[in-house]
Assembly symmetry: C2
Homo-oligomer: 423 residues x 2
């Protein structure tokens, strides 16, 4: 190994207590940061780790590659000067209510402050949440402004068409007993499934029942907040919210087979308007491409839908995903409310979503939703009608009629060949 | 465990040959699919696996959660009917040239056809690449069309402003000996670093030197192809290309601190125009958020830049990332050319990138770049000037003058407080 990479004996897995002194305890859900204790996932001093896994989700692998090739020191410690949140968040009662938050560290943005003592003592404690400010340009909303459909207020929406926001990046931090309870299974079943059904990732899931916190190698969330952060939790002021699951093909490239980007942009508009009225808006962006199945599965399903006998139609929309993936959806919305609990939200006045899965997950977690805002009809791309009808028939919220069987059976999507021509 | 989840003894790791008959061999880089052999990463029949890791990159974890909670059968086999690529790709000479492709499976889109025999025998062989068609709406380009700056051709750019493309999703499949050679290190050093510096992920990296292929839990790539797929490899027709590394804050939300979305959109325009001239365009979108460091690190660095004494300036641009992350960048562009080799590309006429890292990586891999297309000055957001100047000073391609020291030392970015007001 180059540089200061570790030499010698390779430890294939660890066992409780084998390394001598116990690491600092984590009392998940404790009322204060001091009582909860820090999450220590850094690898420079293995004996101090009190979690399974590594920081930065799946980006841990790129860090390992950088260490392997000699460009990053394995014992580097972050200099956190000037990195503290641009806005204060919490603590909120939800941070210590039992099992309200099981998939992120509520103190993750405050480690520099909350664990200053331990950091000074030599513990490498890293933020798992970061809060900054940004100014956004959304071309569809600039056009709405030009058309006179939005009003500049000079604070949220600027004369240039730019939008001021506070934004928050959140890495996954799982409390395994809590995640198991959300799944409705035993913790040891969860640990074993996470180990075995990933091809043997992290044997410590099995060998370290004393370590209850897991940093999984998956994507996290980004939260965009419009308006005063204080308005998010003020019961006297309205709150709008959209929880959006990543769809790179639409969100970035504007593919017309689904409503993802149009609905996201509508969500941003509703959030911005609500902030302009003196309330706040929250967009949660979850990295769960293709319903958590990934983009390869998604594209295989597109082909199967477009080529099936009878054409692309709502009646067989979910079945095609199930044939390929064995399941319609693995986004596991049960964990989704955590980030809203972290924000201290108990009521959403305008929920910009028609998803029954999201509604039910939030409702089960005690978050009240007053109004549900559907996507305006003129924002649904022609080729996305199949998806929209299928979802409405399966329980999506709609203020209008649910599509009937004749409509569900009718081919409405383009064929695969139609993509290459001007049809 | 519910349903058909496995019971009994937990195997913490495996060792060569311990399960009886050897799995099918993989002869990486062989000239035909039959000689190369299939990549078998599915978990239903462990004895047949011939790789380390699991399919779908980091989404394997969501699949495991779905199995744990009983919604997905652990022995489901995909029905691949109608999922085959919408366009044929390859084989190209690069697929079997030594070490040209080390981080994806060149036969990954053809498994249904190339390994039909083994699938019929009961092997669960899954595509790691999927090819489909799509129709894109890019609001910035719709506006360019309205302004008369683009021409409708009815095949690539439609009168509606929509754009026809072929798109390809690619999951990572690493040949460990080849990846080690790209890193310039020994294979056992790579294996050990990947294991130890991820907190002990996949002990088989260490215990199974006989398994040379690894499916890492990281994001993959998406390729968007404009124009005839055949033109991509036709030396008589021009080819444009942009290799774009994910930046969710700009690509989706239009944050003004960097040039990511504007440059991507310019890349799409150049690709589309080149296709309209009878050539082709290729956008490669790599899931490597925040230079492969993730979004939490990125936001911490934004705060450190905005708050440092002397303000946000090009002279300290890279230093701020290094303070926090210990390294400027972990995207590891050495692996990036693989997807272009997979496409059969040997020459790019218009390379829409100013990055010296990308240029050097492609150049080292023998891909000729004729012209380098910078981002037009009027597409650079005001707050992104710091990034652009810092990169040009560090070796980014620019047809104009490199910024001088006085300019690099001057604060050009907004302060953090400026985000909340109309400044």
């Amino acid at each position: 190994m180059r540089g200061t990479n570790r030499q010698g004996h390779i430890v294939l897995t660890s066992h409780p207590g084998q390394r001598g002194p116990k690491p600092l305890a984590i009392d998940w859900g404790a009322a204060t940061a001091a009582e909860r204790g820090p999450v220590i996932g850094s690898l420079g001093t293995p004996a101090k780790r009190n979690v399974i896994g590594a920081h930065s989700g799946s980006y841990a692998l790129y860090r390992a590659l950088a260490i392997a090739s000699g460009s990053l020191s394995p014992v580097h410690r972050p200099d956190l000067s000037n990195t503290a949140p641009s806005e204060a968040f919490g603590p909120f009662p939800q941070w210590s209510e039992p099992d309200k938050i099981v998939s992120l560290d509520p103190w993750g943005h405050m480690v520099g402050e909350a664990f200053a003592g331990q950091i000074a003592e030599g513990y490498d404690i890293r933020p798992t949440i970061a809060v900054t400010r940004a100014r956004l340009t959304v071309p569809e909303l600039k056009e709405r402004l030009r058309e006179g459909k939005l009003s500049v207020d000079g604070r949220i929406l600027l004369p240039s068409g730019e939008i001021n926001v506070t934004k928050v990046a959140v890495e996954p931090v799982w409390h395994l007993p809590g995640v198991a309870r959300r799944c409705g299974i035993e913790e040891n079943q969860l640990r074993r499934a996470l180990f075995e059904h990933t091809g043997g990732m992290f044997p410590e899931l099995v060998t370290r029942p004393d370590l209850e916190v897991f940093l999984p190698p998956i994507g996290g969330h980004t939260v965009y907040i419009f308006g005063d952060v204080a308005a998010v939790t003020d019961p006297a002021r309205p709150l709008a919210c959209r929880v959006h699951d990543e769809c790179n093909g639409s969100d970035v490239f504007g593919s017309d087979i689904c409503t993802c980007r149009p609905y996201l942009i509508h969500g941003i508009e509703v959030c911005m308007r609500t902030a302009q009225e003196g309330g706040a808006g929250v967009i949660v962006y979850n990295r769960k491409e293709g319903r958590g199945l990934g983009e390869v599965t998604k594209f295989l399903v597109y082909n199967a839908r477009k080529r099936q006998e009878g054409g692309d139609r709502a009646a067989t929309y979910f079945a095609r995903t199930e044939c390929v993936a064995g399941v319609q959806d693995v986004r596991f919305q049960e964990l989704m409310p955590d980030v809203l609990h972290w924000l201290g939200i108990t009521r959403i006045d305008r929920m910009v979503s028609m998803s029954d899965m999201k509604f039910n997950a939030l409702d089960r977690q005690g978050i009240t939703m007053v109004e549900r805002v559907p996507i305006p009809d003129d924002l649904i791309p022609a080729d996305a009608r199949v998806e929209m009808d299928a979802k409405m028939a399966a329980g999506y919220y709609t203020p209008g009629p649910v599509p009937d069987e004749e409509r569900l059976a009718r081919a409405q999507g383009r064929g695969l060949d139609g993509y290459g021509t001007a049809s």
